[in-house]
Symmetry: C2
Subunit: 85 residues, 2 copies
């Protein structure tokens, strides 16, 4: 059994309202830090996945991302890093 | 004035309790998906920073990360991407 460490970023799909991002935009504008920062907020996950090989570990990771870490109706996920440990 | 797009990840510092991560660990274990996933949860931000040059934009970004996007007592941040747009 091999172990892999993965970084996942989950973000809202295009067109889904991002009130947290809008709130930060407002703060940055009001404080004069940035006029138009176009902030998008998402979630970040770092986790360890075990598997016979990279292929099967990636398949398991996809299932975890779809079923547990994201809501596929509103959010999409991206595997940012995937390395054996 | 140049514009840069940055990806930021904010995570809890070592030793700070991560109840969200622990909750996901429990779910993955209970469902038989992963025995010990060691999940760490963080926040992800994508934003646009303007500046005279890369140096001054990065300085502004650091200030925004410390003052607005993270709580430096509990969290640390990392600039994952920084590219001119």
């Amino acid at each position: 059994m091999k172990k892999y460490r993965a970084d996942i970023v989950v973000t809202l799909k295009n067109g889904v309202r991002d009130p947290q991002g809008a709130a930060i935009d407002t703060v940055l504008k009001r404080t004069g830090m940035e006029e138009s920062a176009e902030v998008h907020v998402g979630k970040y996950f770092n986790l360890v996945i075990s598997g016979e090989n990279e292929e099967s570990a990636k398949q398991k990771l996809d299932k975890i991302c779809e079923d547990v870490l994201s809501n596929p109706i509103l959010e999409s996920y991206k595997v940012e890093r995937f390395t054996e440990v």
